[in-house]
C-alpha cells in the first residue's frame, strides 16, 4: 500500500531524512517511532505531498504522489500533529467542508458524516462550534474527518499528543475498529510506546533521519534482548535528549492562548 525507496530530504546542508526504505501492506497498522527531530514528521510530509523529496521514490496505492498529486491525495487521509479544524464552524460543518473538498457526493457525504460522528461519539455535539470542544473531542473529530472520504491510507501524526489516558484509549479503539471494518491502512507516529505496542502490527524506529529497526513489537524486543518496547526503543536510540527549535507557529499559539482565540 505504501512503498518507500531510498527516500532523502535535505534542508540546506541538514539532512532530515537519510535514505530510508520501507513497505506497508494493505490493511496494516504501521507505527513510526523515534525521538523528537528524528525525521518522522518530515517523512509524513513527503508521503502526504506537503514536501517534495530531495530524492527517492514513494508509491501510495501504486501512485507516485509527486506526479499524480491529486489522485494520491484523494486516496489518503491525514491527521496532523497540530490541530487543523476550523474552530469557528460546527463539527458537522467541518466534516461537510472536508467532504466537499474530497468530492464525496452529497448523499454519501451525509451518511458517512452521521456514521463517523456516531462512531466517534460526537453526534450529539454535531451542531456545537469546534471552539467549545475539549482537546480529546477535537482529536476525535479530526480522525473522524480523516476517514470521511474512505481513504485507502490514513496518516496519523502523533494523534494522541496531550490527551488523557481515557481519550487515548478510546481513540485507538475506534481507529482499530475502522481499520478492521473499512480495511484502511494506518500509518501512525507516536511517542507513547504502549500505544504502538497495543495497536501497531509492525513498528519502525527512526533516529537521526534513518530507520534503525523494523519489525513487530516482539521482534524488536527479541532483537535488542529487552522485555518492553520502551526498553527496546531506548536500546536502539540511546538515552540522550533531543532539542527541537521552536518556530513562529509555536510562538503564535502562545499568543493565541493568551488571547483565548
Amino acid at each position: 500500500m505504501i512503498r518507500v525507496q531510498n527516500l532523502v530530504k535535505t534542508f540546506g546542508d541538514f539532512t532530515a531524512v537519510k535514505d530510508i526504505s520501507f513497505d506497508v501492506g494493505q490493511g496494516e497498522i504501521f507505527a513510526f517511532l523515534g525521538p523528537n527531530g528524528a525525521g518522522k514528521t518530515t517523512t509524513i510530509k513527503m508521503l502526504t505531498t506537503l514536501l517534495r523529496p530531495t530524492s527517492g521514490t514513494i508509491q501510495l496505492d501504486g501512485l507516485d504522489p509527486t506526479i499524480k498529486t491529486k489522485e494520491a491525495r484523494q486516496r489518503f487521509g491525514i491527521v496532523f500533529q497540530d490541530p487543523s479544524l476550523d474552530a469557528e464552524q460546527t463539527a458537522y460543518e467541518n466534516m461537510d467542508l472536508h467532504g466537499v473538498l474530497y468530492h464525496v457526493p452529497r448523499k454519501l457525504r451525509a451518511e458517512r458524516i452521521e456514521l463517523l460522528l456516531k462512531t466517534f461519539e460526537l453526534w450529539e455535539r454535531k451542531d456545537s462550534y469546534v471552539k467549545t470542544f475539549s482537546g480529546g473531542m477535537k482529536r476525535r473529530l479530526e480522525i473522524a474527518r480523516g476517514f470521511l472520504h474512505t481513504p485507502a491510507i490514513l496518516f496519523l501524526d502523533e494523534p494522541t499528543l496531550g490527551l488523557d489516558p481515557q481519550s487515548r484509549n478510546q481513540l485507538w479503539t475506534h481507529v482499530k475498529r475502522l481499520n478492521e471494518t473499512e480495511k484502511t491502512t494506518v500509518f501512525l507516529t507516536t511517542h507513547y510506546m504502549d500505544e504502538a505496542d497495543r495497536v501497531a502490527h509492525r513498528i519502525a524506529i527512526m533516529d537521526h533521519g534513518s530507520i534503525v529497526a523494523v519489525g513487530t513489537s516482539a521482534e524488536l524486543k527479541q532483537q535488542t534482548g529487552t522485555d518492553s518496547l520502551e526498553a527496546a526503543f531506548l536500546a536502539l536510540t540511546g538515552s540522550s535528549l533531543r532539542d527541537e527549535s521552536a518556530n513562529s507557529a509555536d510562538a503564535m499559539r502562545q499568543v493565541a492562548k493568551m488571547w483565548r482565540r
Binding site: L50, L51, P83, E88, H98, V100, A249, M252, V255
Partner: protein, 248 residues
C-alpha cells in the same frame, strides 16, 4: 466548483457569526465619517467646495471596502497558525480553486461592509445625486473589493506571523487609504503627490465611487473601470502564484 463555493461560504459564515468584529470594523469608518466629516465641514465649505460630508462619504465607503478586503486575506495568517489552511492544502483540489474561493469570500464580506457603511452614510445625512447612481457605485465597490481581496490573499500567503501584519498595516494599507484622495480633492496637488496618488489603485476606486454617487469625476468612469479591472487581473494572478507557493 464545490470547493470554491464551500470556501466562499465559510468566509461568509465566519463574518456573520462574529458580531463583535462587524461592529468593530464598522466603528472605524464611522469615526472618520463623523469626526472628519463634521470636523472639516466648515473649513471645506469656506474653501468653496460645498459639503465635506458629500465629498468624503464615497471615500469612507472605499476605505471600508479596502480595510475589510485586505484583512480577510491576512486572516489567512490565523488559518495558517491554527492549521486549517493545511487541511485545505492537502485536499485533492487545485490551489487556484482554494485561492479563488477564499478571495471571493473575502471580497463578498468587504462588499457587504461597504454597503452597510453606505447605509450609515445615508443616515448621517449623505445624499447621492440620484438613487439610480447606487447600482453604478456598487460596481465600483465590487471592483475595489476584488482588487484588495486578491492583494490580501497575496500578502497573507507570504506573511509568517503577526509582526508582519503590523508592517503591512502601517506601510501598505494606511498609505493606500491616505493617498487615495478619499479625504481630499486631487486637483492642485504638488507634482510628486499627484504622481503618487495616481499609482494608488484605490484612487481610481474612490474616484469611481465619487463620480457615481455625487457626479464629481477626477478621471472618467471608463478609465477608472479599466484601471481597476486591469489591476484586479494582475493581483489575482500574483495572489494565485504566491498562494501556490505556500509550504506548510
Amino acid at each position: 466548483m464545490g470547493a470554491i463555493y464551500i470556501l466562499w461560504l465559510r468566509e461568509l459564515k465566519r463574518y456573520v457569526r462574529s458580531r463583535v468584529q462587524i461592529v468593530v470594523s464598522l466603528g472605524q469608518p464611522c469615526l472618520y465619517l463623523l469626526a472628519l466629516g463634521f470636523g472639516f465641514g466648515p473649513v471645506f465649505k469656506q474653501a468653496g467646495h460645498g459639503s465635506y460630508l458629500q465629498f468624503m462619504a464615497p471615500g469612507v465607503v472605499g476605505m471600508t471596502v479596502l480595510f475589510s478586503s485586505v484583512f480577510s486575506g491576512i486572516a489567512m495568517l490565523w488559518d495558517r497558525q491554527f492549521g486549517f489552511l493545511k487541511e485545505t492544502l492537502v485536499a485533492p483540489v487545485s490551489r487556484l480553486q482554494i485561492m479563488i474561493g477564499r478571495t471571493l469570500g473575502g471580497a463578498t464580506v468587504a462588499i457587504i461592509q461597504g454597503v452597510l457603511i453606505l447605509l450609515i452614510c445615508l443616515l448621517a445625512g449623505f445624499r447621492p445625486e440620484s438613487w439610480t447612481a447606487i447600482p453604478f457605485a456598487f460596481l465600483f465597490v465590487i471592483l475595489i473589493a476584488v482588487v484588495f481581496a486578491a492583494l490580501g490573499t497575496g500578502i497573507g500567503s507570504v506573511l509568517q506571523d503577526m509582526q508582519g501584519f503590523q508592517l503591512v498595516m502601517n506601510f501598505l494599507v494606511l498609505p493606500i487609504f491616505f493617498l487615495s484622495g478619499a479625504l481630499y480633492p486631487l486637483s492642485n496637488l504638488p507634482t510628486a503627490m499627484a504622481v503618487i496618488v495616481r499609482i494608488d489603485p484605490l484612487t481610481y476606486g474612490v474616484d469611481g465611487l465619487r463620480g457615481a454617487l455625487v457626479h464629481t469625476w477626477q478621471f472618467s468612469a471608463m478609465l477608472d473601470i479599466s484601471v481597476l479591472a486591469a489591476i484586479a487581473c494582475v493581483f489575482l494572478g500574483g495572489g494565485a502564484y504566491l498562494f501556490s507557493k505556500i509550504e506548510v
